[in-house]
Symmetry: C3
Subunit: 304 residues, 3 copies
């Protein structure tokens, strides 16, 4: 009798542990180009918390410029690796809402999930973290009830709903829908290179708050180039073929290494070669922007 | 002995279940015109989490234009229905803070609660979701301790505090304060109509992030008008009596149905007739704004 | 046998209670000058939730103007007191990231913790809430794994990580690092005074959303000055030595006490003497800003 009781007790304890273990996977992170001025983001969260009140809901950003898939892709790769495996991201930058683009959930090799239209948003995450699996969302099963009449808010009715069901464990990854080939729609972009000691790359993005210039040249290439802290990097910036800026930027560990307003080069928080003015905006002062049409050429002048 | 033990065990288990059931109602959603640049919103959340650390706290928006009660009303009706019954909203757009307007908690017929000054904020939610009950907040009982000297931050000292106590179950709805008649202060506005095949309505609001035009003409009226996808809607926009825009907008299920920059008409995520330029801003391009002074007249040209 | 079993049961129950007690201290609040347009804030939260999924994570604000340590200090003192004892704040406004400024955790006398570079950010909280203890972060122990190559994102790799470990109970306050003397780096500023019935002070900050003028003259000084609601305050505003504004502002409990567009004086939500135009922006209309160079001189004209 006691023994049977102990069994029940152990079972109950296990159940509790299982629940706690589940709790570790209930993280849901939203990204969109909706902005925060209206109720759209909040409606998505309402749908999610209606699926499960135990979700831990976070924002990546909702200030992606409208329809800018490239920036959505970039913000994901900047953020996804810092969340634990099992986290579910919902990214809704979807100029083709309601058209033929597929709605998918990518599982990265590092164990995070991304729910999104397959329109290029996954370009950088797929390349950087690797594709474990891609599944197409079964929109008959995984769609909020009574939402069939609305064609224009898949973010709320399909993506938030599916993301919440997946994150909460209400459905397994398999239940999202049928598996697709391990590939995603990719936005083409110029990749960084090192040739004859010259670093070339594109300006992936601006560090918008500060106006710093972030390139796609990673720390590996910089190391191979032989650049060391204390060297001076000679920087040229081109928009298409036109030279927009040329100057020297000491390669530094900290912004404080140069006086206020002076240029420096450094590895940013993603360990990519970046350029800044100490406490001023490089982008504003020198009229630099980001994207495929913006490229950099960097040569190294060794410290003596 | 064993039996008594089982009883204790069962009781304990029930207690646990009850707690879990409670957890489903601990959702608290904030809206205000405070913006996110200072500490005001965060202070409200601090007060709430001090009442109960178990609350699940969300934002609707804090970017309501200062003192704009109409927009506060609109954002509520856009969002409240997507949160589960039992959710408590706290809306603080309160140009009359400290004056005679009543502080109330409305319970909708769908089971959500809204804590707000009764200054018109409840206009649309009351009409759309129905009034189950209205109670006036007893500000002697339901007021943060040591806040008697501050007359200007009811959002923190009364509304956030009361909302948190209600959401967490520390007080019942009855304990909010005395019941009032089932009515709220309403902002007058022109309602949508269909006469002789002509749809008339006002521009309730702009879809600010994209510049789309949202009217108050619902899908029921559109259906009655006989409009079908593929028809062309002929749109006139007036500011007071002056015509500001006239043109054709194909009635479409998706934005992609017209080429970039071209106008279309569609049902928005709230199933209201809306007008947009594909991937451009109708409002900016044609200088259109929203509010009672902006009206639309729409006729239907059937597809052949 | 039964007795032993009851012991196990009681132990298990205690464990559960302890966990619930812990849960009350797991509040983590972030402030920065990062803005919300990119993934930086979200990456900090990802690191935190990776340390412990049970954290309750909030924002103070991320819209501190870039590098503005004074405003960071002000927003903390405006918000920290409204969160329960045990709450951990992480504030990252850090123009000297990677340089010699110390990384510290202050414990206030009211029991909140603030994780921050010691660069002036703690000026006002230390003066207002008192210093219980200051500890320097041991950056060898309390640093995210594999982050040694990144020198420019201490917010994510050190501050968010340490704040999350502290808030979740993974480390005690002692384990943050060695204790320092009970002092912090302070930004000098002019303090409020009352002399011969004349109130003097500085404009600490603007209530940015509304354009109200907030001084550092507290309600104690106002009470000592003899001002009562109904009196008229005569206000002069100076920028350095130059007079920028002079006028009368009735001392009121509510904004509605004067007609729209008219000036009034009042105690703000922090009980400091403030000036506003009812439903308009004092700062915009009269070109007033905030900071040490902006001072006010106030005399009282008693109501008859």
């Amino acid at each position: 009798m006691i023994t049977r009781f102990l069994h029940i007790f152990a079972l109950f304890f296990l159940l509790l542990l299982t629940n706690l273990a589940f709790a570790q996977n209930k993280i849901l992170v939203f990204q969109s180009d909706f902005g925060l001025k209206d109720g759209a983001v909040s409606a998505m969260k309402g749908v999610a918390v209606g699926v499960s009140p135990d979700l831990k809901i976070f924002d990546l950003t909702h200030e992606i410029p409208a329809y800018n898939i490239w920036e959505a892709a970039y913000r994901l790769v900047q953020t996804v690796p810092y969340y634990p495996a099992g986290t579910v991201f919902v990214s809704v930058v979807d100029p083709g809402v309601g058209t033929a683009r597929k709605s998918v959930v990518l599982k990265t090799k590092t164990g995070q999930f991304i729910v999104t239209p397959d329109n290029g948003t996954l370009t950088l995450v797929a390349q950087s973290l690797g594709i474990e699996q891609v599944r197409e969302i079964n929109e008959v099963k995984n769609r909020r009830k009574d939402s069939e009449k609305s064609y224009t808010f898949h973010g709320r009715d399909v993506y938030a709903y599916t993301g919440a069901k997946l994150a909460s464990g209400a459905i397994t990854y398999d239940e999202v829908g049928p598996e697709l080939p391990k590939q995603v729609v990719e936005i083409p972009y110029q990749k960084a290179s090192l040739e004859n000691g010259v670093l070339k790359g594109s300006i992936s993005i601006l560090d918008v708050q500060y106006g710093n210039i972030w390139t796609d040249i990673g720390d590996d290439l910089v190391r191979q180039s032989g650049a060391k802290y204390g060297d001076v990097l000679h920087l040229q910036i081109f928009h298409q073929r036109k030279k927009m800026y040329e100057g020297d930027a000491p390669y530094s560990q900290t912004f404080g290494a140069v006086t206020v307003g002076k240029p420096l080069s450094y590895l940013n928080s993603l360990l990519q070669l970046s350029f800044a003015l100490n406490q001023e905006s490089f982008a504003l002062v020198h009229h630099i922007s980001s994207g495929n049409e913006w490229s950099v050429v960097v040569t190294i002048q060794k410290a003596k």
